[in-house]
């Protein structure tokens, strides 16, 4: 016995096994990341969803009413993985990687001393956070203005929580590859900390 989920894909309704559902969701999420930054990316995605719905529908009969993980995998193989979906018209691979992604200032919770404001500024401008900390300390000594500025920045700047935000903080383009890299880096840090 398996739990099924009911989904609306491209205007069709499907009963889909839970594992098949997470596989499908993962694929569509990856596609979304792949086409992020593209003009009318939502239109491309809904066209792809409509086609996938059609392909899945063709795999169902009166005797087989639930979409299984094998169906989903077959359809994904037909549509192709995001890496395989490239074309001449769009930005080339190289351009895609060199094009700067969004660059925003966040508080960096990983390198914080107090609230991560200085660490976040350091990450944004790619300078050593201690330089900014020294400036702040100097401002505090010079009459307390530093505390006020720090408080305002602490309130205004959001904390970089997700991997995508951490990439934005440093100004790298957000795509599947460097999210993978960032996650791996984080994993390594955790592993190192565990050993200590």
């Amino acid at each position: 016995m398996k739990i099924t989920v009911s989904v609306n894909l491209g205007g069709y309704s499907f009963n889909i096994d839970e594992d098949a559902y997470s596989e499908l969701k993962r694929y569509l999420k990856n596609l979304e990341l792949h086409f992020a930054g593209e003009e009318s990316s939502s239109e491309i995605l809904s066209d792809i969803e409509a086609r996938m719905a059609e392909l899945l529908k063709a795999r169902l009969t009166t005797f087989k009413q639930v979409v299984t993980i094998d169906d989903v995998r077959e359809v994904i193989a037909i549509m192709g993985n995001p890496e395989d979906i490239t074309d001449e018209e769009g930005p080339t691979r190289k351009e895609k990687f060199s094009r700067p992604g969004p660059h925003r200032m966040y508080r960096d919770p990983d390198k914080r001393i107090i609230g991560g404001v200085c660490a976040g500024m350091g990450a944004y401008w790619d300078i050593e956070p201690w330089i900014i900390r020294i400036i702040f300390i100097a401002l505090v000594m010079a009459g307390g203005l530093g505390i006020l500025i720090y408080l305002i920045l602490y309130i205004v700047l959001p904390e970089a929580k997700t991997t995508a935000q951490k990439i934005e903080m440093k100004g790298d383009p957000v795509n599947i590859n460097n999210i993978k890299e960032a996650v791996k880096k984080e994993f390594d840090t955790v592993r190192k900390n565990m050993k200590l």
Partner: protein, 108 residues
């Protein structure tokens, strides 16, 4: 050099031209285009088609209308705009020139 990669690059380059060619005969919905491209073996993964269609539409070469379908939700039918037709004529000419050039070199 990787043979499969070179072949894939060659196919990709002519895909845009093939889509316009398919649509020059009559208006189709995406799955009809896919079927023709697959029969002609110019497309490997179907996902490649959709960003191209959307880009050609945004460039004003194609337009689409929604049409009711007996089998399910309404379908998007694509057709060439006048601009698309002119564009295709140009591509036809350049394709003929390319074939001629390649043949000339190969038979020399």
């Amino acid at each position: 050099m990787d043979l499969e990669n070179t072949k894939a690059q060659m196919r990709k380059g002519i895909l845009e031209y093939c889509i316009l060619s398919v649509l020059s005969k009559n208006s189709c919905y995406a799955s009809d285009i896919i079927r023709e491209l697959k029969e002609a073996k110019v497309i490997v993964v179907e996902g490649t088609l959709y960003p191209l269609l959307t880009r050609q539409k945004n460039a004003g070469l194609l337009s689409y209308r929604w049409e009711e379908s007996q089998q399910g939700p309404p379908r998007k039918y694509y057709e060439l705009t006048d601009e698309g037709k002119t564009y295709l004529t140009e591509l036809d000419r350049s394709w003929d020139e390319l074939v001629e050039s390649v043949n000339l070199i190969r038979t020399r």
